[in-house]
Each structure stands twice: as C-alpha cells, then as structure tokens.
Symmetry: C2
Subunit: 313 residues, 2 copies
Amino acid sequence: MIAATITGGEVHPAEHPDPQPAADEVLVRVHAAGLNGADIAQAAGRYPAPPGWPQDIPGMEIAGEVAELGARATRFALGDRVMAIVGGGGQAELAVVHERQLMVVPETLDWPAAGGFPEVFTTAHDALFTQCALGAGERLLVHSGAGGVGTAAVQLGVAAGARVYATVRNEALRDGVAAFGAHVVAPEAFAQHGPFDVILELVGAPNLAEDLLALTVGGRIVVIGIGGGAHAELDLRGLMAKRASIRASTLRGRPLEEKALTARRLERHVLPLLASGVVSVPVAATFRLEQVDAAYARFVAGAKLGKIVVVMG
Amino acid sequence: MIAATITGGEVHPAEHPDPQPAADEVLVRVHAAGLNGADIAQAAGRYPAPPGWPQDIPGMEIAGEVAELGARATRFALGDRVMAIVGGGGQAELAVVHERQLMVVPETLDWPAAGGFPEVFTTAHDALFTQCALGAGERLLVHSGAGGVGTAAVQLGVAAGARVYATVRNEALRDGVAAFGAHVVAPEAFAQHGPFDVILELVGAPNLAEDLLALTVGGRIVVIGIGGGAHAELDLRGLMAKRASIRASTLRGRPLEEKALTARRLERHVLPLLASGVVSVPVAATFRLEQVDAAYARFVAGAKLGKIVVVMG
C-alpha cells in the first residue's frame, strides 16, 4: 500500500507492506484521513506514536470501508462505512484498528467530512462533557475557535445549550466561527467577555493566568493544547478563591478501553447530531495522498476554518 | 458576653454585646471552639471575615447548647448539643448560626472534640470525596498529616478504604499520625512513595511540581492550603501526560446553601463514623477563653497533633 511517510522531518507518500488485522481488529480501506497538530509534532520528531502503532506513518483518524475482518471481529461486515481514531498510521491506503474503536459513518456524511470527524469531535466531546460536565446555560470559552477542535467544540457547546464564546486570531475566519453560533472575541480581549464556566484551552501556558481571572466561581479550565508553551505560572490563591479546577488531557496515550469508551459516547451523543446536521465537519481543504506533503504545508500555514483532510482511492 | 477579640494583630478576651438570632438562626451557648489557620491569618489582617460575620471576633467552628431559637427556627430545641462551621465569631460565649448549618453532637463526643470537629472534617471530607471522589483502594497522600485537617483527612481516607500516606515534618508526631493508619513519610522524600491517585495539598506552591511528578495517570491534586506560598509553576505538558487535574478550594467564602450541603454530607457520612469511634478528633491542647492569647501562641508554635481548642463556661 501507499502511505504518508515521515522521512527527515518531512512527509511524503511511500510504499509499505499491507497491514494485517489481528483477531479483534478490522482492516479498513481508508478513503479519508484528517490531519491534526499531533501529526505535525510527530513528523518533527517531538511526539512519537504509542507502542504498537506505526512510527513512520502519521494519521490519527480514518474513515473508510471494512476490507477484512480479524478472526474474532463481529461488529461489522465487509464494505461497512466506518470511522475511528487510531494511534497512528491513518494516512495510508489501509489501516488496522480494534473493532471496539470503530463507529458507523452516518449516510449523510461524505468521506472527507468523515475522515476529519473522529479526532477533533472525540477530543472536544471528552474535554467539554466527560471532563468538565458542561451544562445548558453555562458560558463556554473556546480558544482557537477556528481550528478543527475549536469548530467541533463550538458546535457541541451550542448544541448542548451553552452560551459559547470563541477566540479567533485570524479576522478572515471570524464570520465562519460565528456562523456556528459562537460569540467571536479577539484573543487579546477575551477576559472582558467573562466570567466563563468552562474554558477550553488550546494555546497553553500564555493564556493560563488570564483564563483563571476570566473564570467564574466553580469554573473549569481544560488544557488540551500547548502549542503556545507548556510552562505556566499558576496563582494558587486565585484558584482557591474561585474554587476552580484545571484539567489537562491527551487522547492518544489512553489505553484501548478508554478510547473505545469515547467511541461509545460519540455514537450515543454526537452521531445523532451529525446525522441530523446539527453539527458538521468543516473541511477547509482536501489533498490526495500523492500530495500529502502539500497537505502538511497547508496545515502549518494556518488560516483555515476546520480540517485539512487527505483523501485516497 | 466575653469573646476573643482581635486588636492590633493580637487576640485577647473582651466584652461584646450578645448576638441576636435572626429568624432562621439559632443562638448557641458555645462550650468549645477550635482554632484554625484562617484565624491566625485573620488576626494578622490577611483574611477578613465574609460580609455579615464579626470582623473582630475570630473562630470558624463551634460546639455548644442551643440557647435561643429564631422565630422560624424549627430543627432544634433549647438545650440540644450542636456544632457547626461559622463564618466567624465562634470563639465567644455566644454565637449565632443558621439552623441549616448545625449538626447534632454525638453523645460520645466531649465538648473539646466537638468544638474541634466541624472545620477540619468538613474541609477534609469536601476535598477528598466531593471534589476528588477518592475511592477504596486508591492511594492518597496527605501533606501536613499531623495538623487538624491532616489528621481528619488521614482518618477519613483510611475509613474509606484508601491506602493513605502522610508527610509529617515533626519527627515527634510521626507515631501519632501512623496510629491513625497512615504510612508516614518524610516531606522531602514523598514522591518516592507514589504514584498517588489523590494528593491533598496543604503547603502550597513549593510542593506542586513534585506533586505532579508523584501523581498517577488520572490523578487529582486538591489545594486547600498555601501557607508555603501561592505562586506556583505548572508544567502543562506533564499535566496533559498524566491526564490529571488540580483543584483548589476554600470553605469560608461559600454561600449558605453550599455550606449547609457540607453539613448534610457530614451528618450522613461522617457522624456515624465519629459516633462509633472509627474516626476521632485529636485535641492537642485546650485553653480557657480567658487565656485565648495563649491558645493562639500555642497554635503558631506548631508541633501539635490535631487541634487547639478554646473552651468556655
């Protein structure tokens, strides 16, 4: 098979042996695979894939058709349209994944949208609801609202009845984020729109002090991105006075059972919203696997609303 | 009435007008009132009482007999033995408190133990269970295990089936804390006894970095004391990798309904343990109200197992 391949800090297509599904796994003929920040970090050598996943093939999410079933795999049939987060190796013509990790692709979803759905919607749903218990009527601030996770979080927050605010650095993207139902605010002035009950932090350390000031009593900050820096200063007196919490998380390092649980939660709580069009996957651009290097260049250039997706077949 | 009175950074007994219970309040003839770190801070001018509470009379917990009922107060009868946290004014012959805040004193408890119970057991129970959901089999680290909150937390953790570790700076107090069921460890070497699921942080900023290193995946740090400093450095990358959370809280600033909820939780979950002797209130020393200045000096001197309590009547 052809797969995106990391060589010397760059990503190019290259030939690899076809992967084989283990007993509980499914071989998926991939039609679309989204790019995520973690792919960029992995290509740069800063974020190795978990043990057991390809180290040189990036890609943390896939959508495609079931091409082969492992000996004990029973949840799907050949040809079923499925999607999932994977530990790596997603940007390839074929990928293997445990059958408990797979979700059915709603009929209304095309391949690029399906390939850009699993990672960011799982990340946003886990952070907002599983970790922060965001409730109707609460005020949510999403940092970096125009990106993949940002657009997912804005839509999930609006769907849950929260009042959603989003910072968007690029002025050209603000209308697009507002169209999802967010009050768009400038990154340098977000605190004046608070206080917020939940803050989804995708930038990291530079925002943390002001996040705390902008938080309401009992508020929750959840850190899932540290592109702006990891070394934060924290005023514990302020945290006590706000009776607040700071959580942080990654998806990739979790064991199978925890990742599979996120798939069950998305099946129950998000796929109905996706199927009915209440939430959608904005795809900023697609690139064929043969031009995967251009996809990475486009991702790094930023200034995009939603996802960059690699398409195959 | 006579009450402990803050004047010029010191605390001495002085005459005050008797307080009057409002409609939903109860007037309590105080028999015992524990000292807490917040009293020391308040006497030093660093921690004013919440609005509506005496600014010049310290004391955040009381035990005594019901002396008078407000017009709408129906939960108790004259002479009932009661105890409660209060927003201030507890170290006095009389104190008023909302009836929803009061708990019955178990028959087996003497006045000094009852007067030293509410604040530290409420604080420890709220932090360990309401905030951190400590469960049986989990590993709990209690910093400053010999103090009032520390001895309460160790006992509550042991009673809940957790494996409890405690740091105790003063070597002379380590056997006493071990007798409550904790594995006592030296403060400078606690991390080597981890990883911990829950860490109760009573020192503050100086411990935070090592707390995070000593935490297990999914672990929770709860900060309820910052005597060692409030300005912490936080490694967000480490927090993400541990999928951990840092919470912080104070009891005093909460509104009535939240404080009253803590009383209901203690009635259900802790008073049975207290009545049966599974947990107890270690009283390091008692002082009569007339010698309240000596009580404060003893508290500040440290090197005590459990509570310093002022007794009256």
